[in-house]
Amino acid sequence: MTNEGETGQAPENVVLCEGRGLKQLLEAGMAWLDHNHQAVNALNVFPVPDGDTGINMLLTMRSALDEIADDESRHVGKIAQKVAHGALMGARGNSGVILSQIWRGFARQIEDLEAFGAREFAAAMREASDTAYKGVVKPVEGTILTVIRQAGEAAETAAQAGDDLTETFGKVVSRCHQAVAETPQLLQVLADAGVVDAGGQGLTLILEGMLRRMRGETVQVDLQLPAAAELEGAMLVHVAEGRYNYDVQFVIKGYDLDTPVIRDKIDSMGDSTLVVGDSNTIKVHVHVDDPGIPISYGVSRGTLVDVVVENMQEQFQEFVRTRAAAEASPVQLLEKPQVEPGQIAVVAVAPGPGLASVLESLGVARVVSGGQTMNPSTEEIVAAMEEIGTDKIIVLPNNKNIIMAAKTACELSGKQARTVPTRTVPQGVSAALALMPDGDLDAVAEAMAEAATEVATGEITTATRDVELNGVKVQNGHYLGLADGQICFAGPDVAEVIRETLDRMEVEDRELLTLYYGTDVTSQDANQTAALAQEWYPHLEVEVVHGGQPHYYYIMSAE
């Protein structure tokens, strides 16, 4: 940025942004998203362990910035191109893919520019929006798409009013906040779930981080999310994680409790402090590194009840751990299918080693590990495609949140590749069975897509929060059943949830039930469940298979 020194302080407004400036802005955007990504993760429509939008967008940004880590080029167009490429290759989850499309459009518009000003920025935002929309087959309003479109419109309006880039950016960000706040009005599922759109929120955070950098504000310390994002009913309790590891909540019961004194004391221990109540009962919420400190203090003031300590890093660590474990999986019992040049090979995504083995046993040439809470990047899918010695590839994403990454991978691979948009592992298994390696690529892809529709999928997991969806009251911690991706039943008794889910899958009219059991289920438990299913539906052939997937006790397939 022309007005900005190497110190990174930019007290004066910015008029032009060149390569290094953009890099700094993007770093700030990523840092801001990083600090707030868990708040974005919490904006999950379904109360299930699902692809985490915050993490997906963060990893996408990280891949984008890795691409320019050693690049100090002044040419903003070249920097932007590299960023777009990195984002594209590292895109994870649908929101990550759309984010990568946004950078792609942005970069294309400023390709030849040494530096951009407000007008060029506005045009680039508009192009970013157009590209993002084109990347989605059926664009849905009330999502990140709406937010980028409004951002583009705000940029154009602001740029017409003046050439101050900071001011233009400021207007863009404030319009983004407004657009995010309005997403539940545009998309019923968001309203039902009581959340705003996570992808839109993630994009807003990135742009906001960039704006903060332009204004010389810090992105390095935790701050509350701006008021505009604090929507009523939105899941924005964990607004500013990052620096501290533990989320501590408790209630102090006592007498003559001095709320302002306790609030000051608690606030000095960490951040995101919330201390409310009266002289007899005080609710405390704080983020700290040592949960013992606020709890010990609380005990000194009265009796503690409802103590909850959550490790906020755990989810991310678990994500990393699960991926590492999946990658280092020793399960290699079966020989890999051999593919001849000219034949059609399949790349599939599987969330567990058992499911990976099943897919390989059906002739899938490469399995990319990933699934509900660990979406693989576009690059990982491309890498798997490139390992195979044929140029005809069919990709089975086996998860609704991986379909876009799979499609992008097909476009980028340079091979004749098709995505058969399987949304569940059972659909992927059905599709894999219809593979005819020597057939015509389009005809085989079509037959596989057709086969995928012939199976009903059930999933049994644990609810991650309270919500009412599809007329089902879901309580945090209860078992939750989904039939073909839709929540259908929740309750404390796992057998009842399984039975209701099977009922919703219409197994009455089916012939074969397969139970893929996850890491939290023993084979004995799985066999007992199978025996129950056999009792409930005597006509069914029931099969029990080790799936090894995390979070989901059972993935069930009815055919």
């Binding site: 020989e335 298994v429 069975l433 012939e454 074969l512």
Partner: protein
């Protein structure tokens, strides 16, 4: 003026009354359980065979009849025929045609003789044998019948759905069945026999899907002239399948056969299939 006679073996699955009506000689194969040997359909009924296949401790083997058995059959025909066409399963699956050729040398006839690789099994072979016998009755000679057999070979298809890959894998005769498919998950292979080649049509998981896929295969051929429903001891499922084919051919015109142990050993019990002549 006597005509050319058609000889086949019991792997053709031709029903006895059909063979008799058209003067087709059917040489029985042997089925061995350990050291016990039975003549197919003469000494061991097919239901009994499949019962022992499914439950017995000994996996059966099948064997071509010795050349002498063919020689006897041929000798019985030489006097009353203007030639003999002997048609058998593909050479790379069975030694039947070789046994037939050796039998002819032993019989030492002077009339024209041809032993053909029919490229088919079960009623796929049966339909070809029947058509040849019908053409022979119309006066066709051995040379003309050889051309007819070649032309029919292109139009006869067998499609089948097996209960598992296990028997096919154990038999070792089909390359694509050697992989890992079906080792972790129950799958039902679909296959096609055409011109001596057994190819995979992929896999399904349920019996219902198997039937639908077989029907789609047959419909894909366009017009079909003759249909036989095949099963390895699964008469009820064969009935269900035949009903599902009613739009292609009235049920009473569809032959149903419990397939030869020679094939049954390799596909296992519970399989269903269809042998058709394309129109």
């Amino acid at each position: 003026m006597c005509s050319v006679r058609v000889v086949t073996d019991s792997t053709s699955d031709l029903p006895a009354r059909v063979a008799e009506e058209w003067g087709i000689s059917v040489v029985p194969c042997y089925v061995n359980f350990g050291t016990e040997s039975y003549l197919d359909q003469v000494e061991l009924s097919r239901p009994e065979f499949y019962r022992r296949l499914a439950s017995g401790p000994v996996h059966p083997t099948t064997a071509a009849p010795p050349a002498g058995v063919f020689a006897e059959v041929y000798q019985g025909l030489i006097q009353e025929s203007s030639g003999i066409i002997s048609i058998h399963p593909p050479d790379h699956f069975s030694a039947l045609r070789q046994a037939a050729v050796n039998g002819w040398e032993m019989a030492g006839g002077e009339i024209p003789y041809l032993a053909l690789d029919g490229g088919q099994v079960s009623m796929g072979l049966g339909w070809i044998a029947l058509r040849l016998a019908q053409a022979a009755a119309g006066g066709a000679d051995v040379t003309a019948l050889e051309a007819t057999a070649a032309e029919l070979g292109a139009r006869v298809f067998v499609f089948a759905a097996l209960e598992s890959v296990e028997f096919l894998r154990r038999s070792g005769r089909v390359g694509w069945a050697r992989g890992t498919v079906g080792k972790l998950l129950r799958v039902r292979p679909l296959l096609r026999v055409h011109r001596g080649d057994i190819s995979s049509l992929g896999y399904v998981r349920t019996r219902q899907a198997a039937i639908e896929r077989l029907v789609a295969q047959v419909e894909g051929l366009g017009d079909v002239q003759s249909i036989a429903v095949l099963h390895s001891n699964a008469p009820e499922r064969a009935d269900e399948f035949r009903q599902r084919l009613a739009h292609l051919r009235p049920e009473e015109q569809v032959l149903t056969v419990n397939i030869t142990p020679v094939v049954g050993t390799h596909v296992g019990p519970g399989a269903i299939g269809i042998a058709v002549v394309q129109g």
